[in-house]
């Protein structure tokens, strides 16, 4: 019987590498990247220009043809399809791989013992150095930082009292179940949208945001600008929320009844994982396409 539920909204630190905290979601993301790169390398080495492809080439062609068709169906423009396709496919493959990797038994349950105390000490040292810098800056800041430090220290002490020894942290956590990953994907999507918009419409693209032709258009421009930021939030939280909710659901169901009952939920999560990857890719594709169409045209 399980000792208890382990649910964490944020990714957990596994180790520190050159000052960078490596979390379990980062570790899984890198693993997914390695798998995708390995798949690409193996496919490339086995590619043959034949009429009837077999094996891994057949599988790769099937995926790429489907995604290429999807992109071309939206753009209806050969040049745009070729430009957008790598981004859309990579978004889809990275997201679906991360989503589905979270469903493999062992992900979330295989744990690593991490010395949390040491990590907390490091964090405390960081805060202390912030404090020292702040002291040099001004007295007011010292008081504020000192208050913060005191609160943090109290929290760390409480935590240290709870876990006197090393803490067991899951080694694997789906990348998409970490808000940092989904924010980074959303940022890439929105930044690349602006780049494509500028590439196609040049400075005319910015008319969408800054338009002095009429007060209404000016207001619409501001709304458009806000909507670009809203897209980042919506992209990031939709994916993160769906995948994390699925993870939590599976953990809870498995905790309540570990036999048979989780199976339909696994099926559901497979579907959700696919749909979320598709939604993210399709929305990105639509935003890319809309950004490259002249504002007066649509």
């Amino acid at each position: 019987m399980a000792t208890g539920l382990h649910i964490s909204i944020s990714a957990e630190r596994l180790f520190t590498l050159g000052g960078l905290d490596i979390t379990n979601s980062m570790f899984t993301s890198v693993l997914v990247s390695m798998l995708l790169i390995s798949f690409a390398v193996i496919t490339k080495s086995k590619l043959k220009n034949v009429s009837k492809p077999t094996g891994i080439q057949n599988f790769a062609e099937m995926i790429i043809e489907a995604l290429h068709g999807l992109v071309h169906g939206v753009t209806s423009d050969f040049k745009k399809t070729r430009l957008f396709f790598p981004f859309i496919s990579t978004f889809f493959l990275v997201i679906i791989s991360n989503n589905w990797l979270g469903l493999i038994p062992g992900v979330g349950t295989i744990r690593l013992l991490v010395n949390e105390e040491a990590a907390q000490m490091e964090e405390a040292v960081k805060h202390s150095s912030v404090l020292v810098n702040s002291v040099q800056a001004s007295e007011t800041t010292i008081i504020e930082d000192a208050t913060i430090l005191t609160t943090d220290e109290v929290a760390h002490e409480d935590s240290a009292n709870e876990h006197s020894g090393p803490v067991a942290v899951p080694i694997f956590r789906p990348g998409t179940a970490d808000i940092n990953t989904t924010i980074s994907l959303a940022l890439i999507s929105i930044i690349v949208t602006q780049i494509f918009g500028f590439k196609y419409l040049k400075f005319g693209y910015f008319k969408k945001f800054i338009n002095f032709s009429s007060p209404i258009m000016f207001f619409v421009g501001i709304l458009e600008l806000i909507s670009e930021f809203a897209k980042i939030i919506s992209f990031a939280f939709r994916l993160f929320g769906n995948i994390l909710a699925g993870e939590i659901l599976l953990v809870v169901i498995a905790f309540l009844c570990p036999i048979i009952l989780p199976m339909p939920f696994y099926g559901l999560e497979l579907f959700v994982g696919f749909i979320q990857a598709l939604v993210f890719s399709l929305l990105t594709l639509v935003f890319f396409n809309m950004a490259t169409i002249n504002h007066e045209e649509h």
Partner: protein
């Protein structure tokens, strides 16, 4: 939730690497194969269309030739039939002619034979009559007189026949 800029940057770099590697190792080569295959299919379609065109052309020519042959055959058959009819008529008329000739020849020879037979019979009968009459009258008539009498009698018999 713990939003950290370093982690976001790490994920952006991670995604960029995957994007670059997949683009160069997977998407581009596979799409190149798609393009080449599309060209091949297009060429194949063109070749097939051309082959269909050629086939249609050949079919048309074949039909035309068949029709020509049919007409020619009918004409030859017709000519042959006419020729045969003509020939048959010729043969029949020739045969008839020959038959008639043969018939007339046979009739002539039969007449000649008949005359010959009559002559022979006449001569035999003459000899017999002379011999009988010599015995009956007891004297011998000269040959010319006898012959005259016999001839008169025989001609009378022949007339009666």
């Amino acid at each position: 939730m713990d939003i950290q800029l370093t982690q976001i940057l790490f994920q952006i770099i991670n995604f960029s690497v995957v994007l670059g590697v997949l683009t160069f190792l997977l998407y581009k080569p596979v799409i190149k194969i798609f393009d080449e295959r599309a060209v091949r299919i297009e060429e194949g379609q063109k070749a097939a269309e051309l082959a269909i065109k050629i086939k249609d052309e050949l079919d048309r020519e074949k039909k035309k030739a068949e029709n020509e042959h049919k007409t020619e055959r009918a004409k030859i058959l017709n000519d042959a039939q006419e020729e045969a009819k003509k020939r048959a008529q010729e043969i029949i008329s020739t045969a008839r002619k020959e038959t008639k000739e043969e018939q007339s020849k046979l009739l002539d020879s039969w007449k000649e034979e008949k005359i010959q037979l009559i002559k022979e019979a006449k001569s035999e009968m003459t000899d017999a009559i002379i011999a009988i009459s010599a015995k009956v009258i007891g004297k011998t008539l000269d040959i010319k007189t006898q012959q005259k009498l016999i001839d008169e009698e025989i001609n009378l018999i022949i007339k009666n026949i």
